[in-house]
């Protein structure tokens, strides 16, 4: 058996070199499709992380009118704190709101200079356990009889509520579109890779038809004849996978620091275990494409 393994490896490398232009085409298409798969997994991971992060930051802010009755505010805070969907309710006074605003806007001092007095309302900041329950909690707040009495805009209490439901939903919608486009692209590239591998293997079979004929004649078993060609397809796919993994590592190094800079408030990063997962998926996908591509060629062109 040890002789055979050496034989198969040697044969598949010889085939590969004999037809290196076609093989290169196969390698490049596999590379591109696996690269897309990898990038899509990586972005999918990052987007999921962002969504999780945003979700954890979803808050309902209840703006309070100036000069609200403190016991009303406390009653509302009490009412919400006892709700099982609510994690915490924090009070932000007008002064704290202004201080926070100044802190956020320190890049543009002219805005702060133009401010007269303190136009910012005090607020109750409701932190949720699960961001998806935001509508339920909002409904509860609206149903509370104390709420209109403390709301910043008593005529239209709804406008005194601010929450970020749309952000989360939009992110999910965006990822869904991106995913669909990616799946279509990956599918098309996978088909092109299969055609390329199919062709290289067909040429390899054609180049060795005399040898194959003799092998059949003297009774070489079918798998013995097929294995070098199957290996050749897998070989091409593995080179493509290795290139794709390398590219993703380089891209990660180049892009992630900038992304982290731009989205500093989010905790971003691809951990080592995620990279290992992506690599394994790419290698597995590559082997699968290689086996299917050369298997199809063998079925069509190698009658044994």
């Amino acid at each position: 058996m040890t002789i055979s393994i050496g034989y198969f490896l040697r044969e598949s490398v010889i085939n590969f070199r004999r037809n290196w232009i076609m093989s290169l085409g196969a390698v490049i298409t596999i590379y591109l499709s696996l690269l897309l798969v990898g990038v899509s997994f990586a972005t999918g991971y990052v987007v999921t992380e962002i969504v999780k992060d945003v979700e954890s930051k979803v808050e309902i802010q209840i703006f309070l009118k100036d000069g609200f009755a403190e016991e009303d505010m406390l009653e509302l805070q009490q009412f919400l704190s006892s709700d099982p969907l609510v994690e915490a309710v924090n009070y932000t006074s007008k002064e704290e709101a202004l201080a926070k605003f100044k802190e956020d806007m320190k890049e543009s001092p002219e805005i702060i200079e133009q401010m007269e007095g303190n136009p910012l309302p005090a607020s109750l900041d409701v932190k949720l356990i699960d961001a998806r329950e935001v509508e339920v909690v909002v409904a509860k707040i609206k149903g509370n009889p104390t709420f209109p009495q403390v709301a910043d805009k008593p005529d239209n209490p709804e406008e005194s509520l601010k929450y970020a439901k749309q952000i989360v939903n939009r992110l999910f919608a965006l990822t869904r579109v991106v995913r669909t486009v990616e799946v279509v692209f990956i599918g098309m590239l996978a088909i092109v890779s299969l055609i390329f591998i199919n062709n290289t293997i067909r040429l390899a079979i054609y180049a060795r038809r005399k040898e194959i004929g003799i092998m059949r004649l003297v009774g070489a078993s079918n798998w013995f004849i097929r294995t070098p060609f199957l290996l050749e397809g897998v070989f091409q796919a593995l080179i493509g996978a290795a290139l794709a993994i390398g590219t993703i590592v380089v891209l990660e190094r180049a892009i992630m620091p900038r992304l982290r800079e731009v989205l500093a408030f989010l905790d971003l990063g691809l951990s080592g275990s995620v990279m290992v997962q992506i690599s394994l998926i790419l290698i597995g996908g590559g082997i699968l494409i290689g086996l299917i591509g050369s298997g199809l060629a063998l079925r069509r062109y190698l009658k044994v």
Binding site: I3, S4, Y7, K210, E211, G213, I214, M215, R216, L217, V218, G219, A220, S221, N222, F224, I225
Partner: protein
């Protein structure tokens, strides 16, 4: 060794290649199958190698029922059948030694077996001095000897030869035939398809004559017997 009963082969519905063939060949026999081109000799050989299926009838070769034989077992059938062709079918990039060794390698024989058996069989066919020569450095007769060595290196119980002397001059053909005869004496059944009249007449072996796909004569110690 070979048993064909009621075998028909039609490539197209109206054109029979072989019709109602009944043949029994015992182990150790030396048999000529003779006939003009298109008489069905090559079809007969292909049927015995199970490269094709008969349209009707039963074929048993080396104890294997070819109709029932599973596809994946065909290679193991062929290890019991040595094959020699008119065009030698040697690999031009391999030496005589490598060409013969190839036949052992691809059926998974160990290097040790290859190293002992290949020189032995090349000596048997008289090419011990030309083991390292490439096919284009050998004469036609020598190339055919390499091809016979390859067919015989695995010691198959049956040797099929399709026009083995078709490309060779009479002198060389005689050498090839005596080589086949010598192989036959080791107990190997030999079946030779040929239209080489002189050869058949001089050997005086069993002759099966085909015409338009039918057996018209089957005689021991026969002659070629067509007037053409």
């Amino acid at each position: 060794m070979i048993s064909m009963r009621g075998v028909d082969k039609f490539y197209a519905a109206e054109k029979p290649a072989l019709v109602d063939i009944d043949v029994e060949i015992e182990q150790g026999e030396f048999v000529f199958v003779v006939g003009h081109s298109g008489s069905g000799k090559s079809t007969l050989i292909k049927l015995l190698l199970r490269e094709i299926f008969p349209t009707r009838g039963h074929i048993v070769v080396a104890g294997q029922d070819l109709i029932r034989l599973k596809n994946w077992k065909v290679p193991f059938l062929r290890r019991n059948i040595g094959c020699v062709f008119q065009d030698f079918k040697l690999l031009p990039t391999k030496t005589a030694y490598e060409n013969v060794a190839f036949a052992l390698e691809v059926i998974g024989r160990s290097r040790h077996v290859t190293r002992t058996q290949v020189p032995e069989v090349l000596r048997l066919v008289g090419l011990e001095d030309k083991m390292e020569s490439y096919p284009d450095e050998l004469s036609g007769g020598e190339q055919q000897r390499v091809s016979i060595a390859r067919a015989f290196v695995n010691r198959p119980p049956l040797l099929l030869a399709d026009e083995p002397t078709g490309n060779l001059d009479p002198q060389t053909s005689l050498g090839i035939m005596s080589l086949l005869s010598r192989i036959n004496k080791t107990g190997t059944t030999v079946l030779v398809a040929t239209h080489d009249r002189e050869m058949v007449d001089s050997m005086r072996r069993r002759v099966i004559a085909l015409e338009n796909g039918r057996i018209i004569r089957d005689q021991d110690r026969g002659v070629y017997g067509y007037d053409d």
